[in-house]
Structure formats: C-alpha cells, structure tokens
C-alpha cells in the first residue's frame, strides 16, 4: 500500500461527556500517482482523516500506513513523513506569519535545517511550480497579494518541501471562479506531469469531478463508498440522500435521461456534456 488506513478510528475528547467518535474503522488506500477525492457531508470526519495521514493526529484505534509501514510515534519518523506528505489546510493563508513571501515559503525548508542556498533553490522552484513570478512576489508582504495569489503562496509553502503526496482541504474555498479553475488546472499538472499523488477534500464538485481517478465517501465517520470515480458518481441517488451533489452538468444529463432520452450520464465537464448532447441530437435525427 502506498498511502492509506486500516480500521482507523478516532475519538475526540475521550472519557468526557463530549466524547465524539469522529472516525470508525476507516480503511482505504491510494496508489502512487492517484488523483483522489475525499467527500462527505459536513462533520463526516474528512478533516480528521487527513490530519492522520501526516501524523498530526494519532489514531485511537487502527493504523495509518505509508509505503507498507505503519506510522510510528517516533518523532524522527514523523518529521521525515511530513516532508513527504504535504498538507494544505483550509484557508491556509490565514495562518501566514512572515513579512515576505520568500520567508513564508522558506519556513519549512529552513526548519528542516537546509542551508540557505538550498532553501532559496527550493523556494524558487516552489513559486515557479505554482506559477508565481519570483521577481514580482518574493519580496512582497503576503497580505498585499490577492486572495488567489495568497492561496498559491500557501500551496508553494507546502511544495517547498518537495512532497510526494499533496493533501488539500477545501483548496478553493473563497476563490473566485477564475481562481478555482486556475488552482485545479495546477493540481492536475502537478499530478500528471510531476507525478504527485493528490488527495482533495471538497464540497464543490463542479471543477474537480472530471480530474479524479478515485473517490472516497465518508458519512458519520465511516467509509460508505470507495472506488473508481466513474463507479462512485454513478450512484447518484445515494449521493443525493447524503446531501451531496454531483456537478451541475451531470445533473443536466440525468434530467435528460429522466425525460426519456438515451443520454449518457457519466459526464462531468462542460465539454463532455456539449459533445454528448451534440451526439445525442445526431443519434435522434437518424
């Protein structure tokens, strides 16, 4: 197994009246190079799960596995792990604390004790990978940037460690439509060109459904669906019952099918929908 969990459970505030079972025997695995989505209603345990994957939370039961080895509690082990598994929090730019973009992105590599020449190399590469121009941004105060740019700096701050796995919690929250498209295009290229394994936790399926290889659905701390994206998205009624939604273009195709038309419903992007409706029209005309 590359990365995943076996019967992972987590209880918040155990032994108090507020004890809450956030995860219950969650098992899943990702292959190297996967682009996976983690979805589920609010409160289903998504954020709790991803915090286990780089050792920020310790299991109450079960295991977290990375490259066939169980994560131990040894601190050296965890440091190495967090270098390889990068976690981008929700609204990560709210945690910025440095005076310049350079210092913000350099924080993690410096913490690992790299010399300043190597740190600068990493920072340059990370900014380049997110498409921010070194000359324009490295000297600026992070708070002077636009929301979209701040989010990219937050991503660069994680990429500066050159992780192999990138986990993102609601990476597009608060971004405008242009910013959302840009960020997802970037994640796609990090996945396809640079070979990063990507796990995105999101409520907004419109831009990302088309990119996913596999999907994990949590509800009340348990895995209720997991598998290839096309198989999971085909279970629309179960989705709706959970209060989740598929992309709007997928809904359009389902509505056409419900109206008695022989429309394909495994459609997740505008261009796919456009092609299928054109093809449907030709098929009907014959």
């Amino acid at each position: 197994m590359f990365i995943g969990t076996e019967k992972l459970s987590h209880i918040y505030m155990p032994g108090t009246p507020y004890a809450t079972k956030a995860l219950e025997e969650v098992s899943f695995s990702l292959d190297r190079g996967d682009f996976a989505l983690l979805i589920g209603p609010s409160g289903s345990g998504k954020s709790t799960l991803i915090q286990h994957l780089n050792g920020l939370l310790k299991p109450s039961g079960g295991k977290v596995i990375f490259e066939d080895r169980e994560l131990g509690s040894d601190s050296v082990d965890l440091l190495a792990l967090r270098k390889r598994i990068g976690l981008v929090f929700q609204m990560a730019e709210e945690h910025f604390f440095s005076e310049t973009v350079y210092d913000e992105v350099a924080f993690a590599p410096r913490n690992l004790g790299l010399d300043e020449v190597k740190v600068e190399q990493n920072v340059k590469l990370a900014l380049e990978r997110v498409g921010l121009e070194w000359e324009v941004v490295h000297d600026r105060h992070p708070f002077q940037l636009s929301s979209g740019q701040k989010r990219l700096v937050a991503l660069a701050a994680v990429l500066s460690l050159q992780p192999e796995v990138l986990i993102l919690d609601e990476p597009t929250a608060g971004l405008d439509p242009g910013g959302r498209l840009h960020l997802f295009a970037l994640l796609k290229s990090l996945n396809q060109q640079a070979g990063l394994t990507v796990l995105v936790c999101t409520h907004h399926m419109d831009e990302v459904a088309d990119l996913a290889d596999s999907v994990l659905v949590l509800n009340r701390g348990k895995v209720i669906m997991s598998g290839p994206a096309h198989d999971i998205f085909a279970r629309r009624q179960e989705f709706n019952k959970l209060g989740l939604s598929l992309p709007e273009v997928t809904e359009v195709m389902h509505c056409l099918a419900a109206a008695g038309l022989p429309a394909r419903t495994d459609i997740y992007s505008l261009e796919q929908a456009r092609a299928e409706i054109n093809s449907l029209k030709r098929r009907l005309e014959k």
Binding site: Q90, D176, H203, L242, E248, V252, L256, L261, L270
Partner: protein, 286 residues
C-alpha cells in the same frame, strides 16, 4: 417589522480608501450608488479583490466612508451614537465562522448577542431554540463550537445573527465551507426570512448557482459597480463575466456552448431545469 423604511441600505457616491495603501488612485471602492429595498435579496459578485467585503463592512459601519455616505434605514453610518443600532439591524456573517464564534457552547454562542441586549431569559431561550430548530442545530446546543465541523460552525454563526432578528443580513460567502445540504439549509432559512418577514439580504458569493437565486445581481470590478440587473440577464452576459474571470451557471455556460453548435436555446437560461426543458421541447424532441 412594521414602520420600517422601504429602503434598507442606501449608498451615495460611496468611496473608501484603506489607510496606508500606497496607491491612492485606486480606492477599494469608488462611486457606489446602490440601494437595497426591504425584502430584497441582492447578490454581489466580482473577482477576488474587487471590493465586495469592503462594501459589506461599510454597510454595517465596521468601516466609515472616505467619501460619500451609507444610510442604513435612513441613518448615516458615520453617526457614532447610531452604530450599535445599525449593527443590530444589519447583521454580518463573515466568510470564516471561526472569526465570530466566541462562547464555550453552541447555545451560549447563539445567545451572546441577545444577552448583550439584556433581553429576559425566557425570551432568549425561546429565540435560541427557534433558530436552532430552523438551522438543524438542536442536537448540538451543549457542544463546544470549536469541535464542530465547518458546516456546523457556519450554521451556528448564522443562528447567532438571526436570533437578533435583524432587518438586514449581510453574508460574505457564507457557504464556502459547507456541503451541499448545509448550503441549502442555510440559504433556505435566510430566503424564508427574506420572503416571510421582509429581511433584506446582501449575499456575496463566488457561486453563480447561488447568485442565480437572488432578485438582483450586482457586479463589482476594481471597486466600481459595473453591472446590475435580474440574474437571468446579468448571469447570461458571459462575455463580460469571462472578461472579469467570472462564470455563468454551468447551465448557462453549457447553453452558450450549444448555441454556438447551432442549437436554438433561449438566452435566459439559469438552471438545469430550464435548460433540459428547452432542449426537450425543441432540439431533442423524439
């Protein structure tokens, strides 16, 4: 809500400069003339950095105009002795609920504003229970807010505002962290109060599907109001939206693509139902 003025919020030549901004020639907002009627639902869209949040803060006297004025129910926000009154009438819901949750349990949090108003306990209890019911929070009343999920926190923040029975509610991307069911719960509750009790709503959103449900859509760009009108018109002006890095709804975008492929589809498509109905009644009739 009788005897309240017809106009909830009115701005005249409103402008605002952030202090210390190096470029004095590009104010955060400029020349805004806008009025929001009682019972009206206005959605405010625009790219990141276009001045949407600044405008909301000017509406409830968190910021004072650099030039021009803001009248809330006829009272200028610069009259210091009226600011408490303005903020009670004009409740603000911030993007990130963590920024407005203050108490140690959900019920205390919802009651916080009411206690400040020195209302009698039975009345506080009644209002807390009512809004908790409306937003599906009954089972969480004794829980500490910081251990709730993002969606639950969002609903607690909104409950705390609605309990004050404001005449106007300002929402800054209230659904950025919510799942699709919580989005419907929250926006549904606000919409109901808007319809039934004449609550005026200003809703900043990056989701065209949400803007599509407003009575009026207003577009901000570089601090200026550049377009406004009914959603069916504004959200189908795709040329303008794309130029600004914005998008129409998935259905309006798909309709536009199909029109260029020769489909005859009316201009004013906003949602899945309208698009499917149009396709079924003409192009895909079998």
């Amino acid at each position: 809500m009788k005897n309240r003025p017809e106009i909830a919020i009115e701005t005249r030549k409103l402008a605002y400069h952030y202090p210390g901004e190096e470029n004095i020639s590009s104010p955060a907002v400029y020349g805004i003339n806008l009025s929001v009627k009682r019972g009206e639902y206005v959605s405010l869209i625009g790219p990141n950095g276009s001045g949407k949040t600044t405008l909301l803060k000017l509406f409830n006297a968190l910021l004072a105009p650099t030039d021009g004025e803001v009248l809330v129910e006829g009272i200028s926000t610069t009259e210091e002795e009226s600011q408490t009154e303005i903020r009670r009438n004009c409740g603000m819901i911030f993007q990130n609920p963590d920024n407005q949750l203050v108490a140690t349990t959900v019920e205390e949090d919802i009651a916080f504003g009411l206690e400040n108003l020195e209302l009698p306990s039975p009345e506080i209890r009644k209002r807390v229970n009512r809004v908790a019911g409306e937003l599906g929070l009954e089972h969480l009343l004794k829980h500490p807010p910081h251990l709730l999920s993002g969606g639950e926190k969002g609903r607690v923040a909104i409950a705390g505002i609605l309990a004050m029975q404001p005449s106007c509610i300002l929402m800054d991307e209230p659904t950025a962290m919510l799942d699709s069911k919580s989005r419907q719960d929250v926006l549904g509750a606000v919409r109901r109060l808007n319809r039934e009790q004449g609550l005026a709503v200003v809703h900043v959103t990056h989701f065209p599907e949400e803007a599509a449900r407003a009575d009026r859509v207003v577009i901000l760009h570089q601090g200026r109001l550049i377009e406004q009108g009914p959603p069916a018109l504004v959200l189908n002006n795709l040329q303008l939206l794309h130029q600004l890095g914005l998008q129409g709804t998935a259905s309006s975008e798909l309709a536009a693509l199909l029109r260029t492929d020769g489909f005859s589809i009316p201009q004013e498509i906003l949602n899945c139902q309208e698009l499917v109905q149009s396709l079924c009644s003409s192009e895909l009739k079998n």
